[in-house]
Amino acid sequence: MLSKKELLKIFYKLSIELVDIKDLKLEVSNYYFELLLNEYGDDFISLLNNNYFGKKAKSTSSERKLNGLIIYLWYTSEFITRSELDSFFDVSDDFNKQNEFVHSSPVPYYNGLVWKAIRAHPLGLTGGYFGYWKYKPEN
């Protein structure tokens, strides 16, 4: 059995691997860990274990799904619950989040990778100063 401390580390490392971005915020990682643990329990633990013991992370479909939603979480801070999983992965469907999920803090949202990727800023947190939007992004 790996200790929680170790699992947290593995999750952080796995996250970095999945999104290929090094400076993920540890505080957010630890928070996501708790969310995932609560919702996905053993499946989540086994994903981390397999990852740690060198089994290919993408092996089973359920692990692939978990990986997918971890990536989605880091990008958008939107947390997909078990009951939403099928519809989230249904390629024929426009996924509409039904259950409202409210994080305890805005920090995960502010750290969403999607904003960085599109060279904007989280909506609701200014990108700088009056008029910056007239120019190309600085970052």
Binding site: I71, F88, I118, A120, T126, G128, Y129
Partner: protein, 567 residues
């Protein structure tokens, strides 16, 4: 509270939205005493916390910052977000009459009940109506004529722009579409976003469908400099649903100013549910419900009552009270702007989601002969990707589940796509129609007041305009250089949140609810302000016009002290 209850006021205003609070401010400024009754709660101090709630929730709607446990006065905006609303009875805030609806959508426009009203979540675009909007019947033989003209309102437009704090370009707007401006905007325009600069380069000045295309900076209730003690817009890009720094105007500005005069009292969490008249058709009392469902009655014999509770709640209150409806027009002629969109990916990256959600528009199609047959429309250029059609999150999801991307490939693919996403939306004019209406449902809301029942259908006049608007947007996009053009199904339009027309004004007491000053034809001490008094809806966002009309009403009540003071 008792002190307030027993005090005699010159005016009692129901609703502290933009119209109610500006009315209160001007009355108080000229030494009238005012009681402001507000259904919602006062939450000025929660601005940052509410911005945080928006960030925390996974459902980002115009109401999401404002959700609170045990909301007292419900509204469509809150309702959408509350949990456990799955029972059929409670699913929607409105009760819909959908039997005859050939369109896919029901009426979706929302409003807010909070001190300050719906301007908390509005976008803040404030173009004026144009002169022909007031004369639809005499010029185009459709709709109705207003009892007033653009000219009657022009001075009040200037005062309204000054009060709200509007940023705009006077040179570009003065006399455009016949709308002269006697004063320039109090602030210069909000800078256009990066995408607009591309539109300006590629299409400005070209002719499309016989009209010269001008990419115009939309006048906005958003600061381009420090104004009224509020900061310049810093591009938080969350105007809908909340501006964290109040660079966007909301009505708490005027509530604060009104309270500062010392002539105004405000009671929040007070849902007015009944007006009572005597045999002389005088409103002698009104009652409201408070937090513990206590009912309070207020004597209004020596006061004038002004309803400013918005275009759904005003008819709801009047119908519930059986008042001011000898014309049978209360609740009828419900209007909105029926909207559709065209989306695309630009060849060049345009980096959306930076700055206000839209900064420019194309107004050339807001007038012209075609209005005889089909609606005019206003086009706005989005700065928010595909808006409600597809969010950046949805793009991320698609790339993960359909393309199996991860790591830097995903990152680059997200950038590649989202930085090119653009939409143009068009808003068409819904003509007044007696069958589009608000009535009372037998179902009651959480505090026992009958819910508003909505019948709303749009006509061929709009559907035909959708076709033309799509064609125009497509041509414009082709000039700009895009791929993946896509538009909505014509039966699938959306509302604009511009709820108008349910207590329309007119000269004929048999065909209208109020006169041009908003005075009820039936009840002489009853006034109505807000977009509900509109005769027709034009294609401009309604609120500036509603405020100009409000100031005109109050000026009338103050024997023109406002306009005299201006001079």
């Amino acid at each position: 509270m008792d002190k307030i209850k027993n005090k005699k006021y010159d005016y009692i205003i129901v609703g502290s939205g933009i119209c109610g609070s500006i009315a209160a401010y001007f009355l108080a400024k000229f030494n009238k005493t005012v009681l402001l009754l507000e259904a919602g709660e006062t939450r000025d101090k929660d601005r940052i916390e509410m911005s945080g709630r928006y960030a925390r929730t996974s459902r980002k709607t115009p109401g999401s910052p404002y959700v609170k446990e045990n909301q007292f006065a419900d509204s469509p905006d809150f309702h959408e977000n509350i949990k456990n609303n799955n029972s059929e009875k409670n699913k929607n805030f409105y009760v819909f009459d959908i039997e005859n609806n050939k369109f896919k959508n029901v009426f979706k426009s929302t409003y807010q009940r909070i001190t300050g009203g719906s301007t908390w979540h509005w976008l803040g675009n404030v173009p004026r109506f144009i002169p022909s909007d007031f004369k639809m019947n005499s010029i185009y033989r459709v709709g109705k004529d207003w009892p007033i003209t653009y000219h009657d309102l022009e001075t009040y437009y200037c005062i309204a722009e000054n009060e709200i704090g509007v940023s705009g370009n006077h040179e570009k707007w003065n006399k455009y579409l016949g709308a002269y401006r006697s004063k320039s905007f109090p602030m210069s325009e909000i800078w256009e976003c990066y995408a607009d600069t591309l539109f300006i380069k590629k299409v400005d000045g070209k002719s499309i469908n016989g009209k010269e295309i001008r990419i115009l900076p939309t006048p906005q209730a958003r600061n381009s400099e420090n104004y009224d003690g509020r900061p310049a817009c810093a591009g938080n890009s969350s105007c809908v649903p909340i501006c964290p720094i109040q660079a966007k105007y909301d009505a708490t500005v005027h509530i604060k100013k009104a309270l500062k005069t010392g002539n105004v009292d405000i009671i929040d969490n007070a849902v007015v549910n009944k007006l009572i008249e005597n045999e002389n058709k005088e409103i002698i009392a009104l009652s409201y419900l408070t937090l513990n469902n206590n009912k309070v009655e207020i004597d209004t014999k020596t006061a004038k009552v002004i309803l400013a509770a918005n275009s759904i709640e005003i008819p709801r209150l009047l119908l519930n009270s059986g008042i001011a409806n000898s014309s049978d027009q209360v609740g009828r002629n419900l209007m909105d702007h029926a909207q559709g969109y065209v989306t695309a990916l630009t060849n060049e990256k345009i980096y959306p989601f930076r700055g206000p959600l839209t900064t420019s528009g194309i107004d050339a199609f807001r007038d012209g002969e075609q209005r005889k047959e089909l609606s005019a429309f206003r086009i706005s250029i989005g700065n928010d990707g595909w808006g409600r059609i597809k969010s950046p999150n949805a793009v991320v999801r698609e790339l993960i589940i359909k393309e199996n991307l991860l790591g830097s490939k995903l990152y680059n693919a997200v950038e590649e796509k989202v930085t090119r996403m653009i939409r143009m939306s068009y808003s068409t004019e819904v003509l007044p129609n007696k069958n589009n209406r608000v009535t009372l449902s037998d179902i009651k809301d959480n505090i026992g007041i009958r819910k508003p029942k909505i019948s709303f259908n749009i006509s061929k006049y709009n559907a035909d305009a959708f076709e033309v608007a799509k064609e125009v947007c497509t041509k414009i996009f082709n000039e700009v250089g895009v791929s993946e053009l896509s538009t909505n199904d014509n039966r699938d339009y959306s509302g604009a949140g511009h709820i108008m027309g349910t207590t329309c004004m007119g000269n004929d007491p048999e065909k209208s609810v109020v006169n041009d000053y908003g005075n009820s034809h039936d009840n002489h001490n009853l006034y109505i302000i807000g977009p509900s008094v509109f005769t027709t809806s034009g294609t401009a966002n309604p609120t500036l016009t509603a405020v100009a009309l409000t100031i005109r009403t109050i000026d009338h009540l103050l024997n023109n002290k406002i306009t005299k003071n201006e001079v």
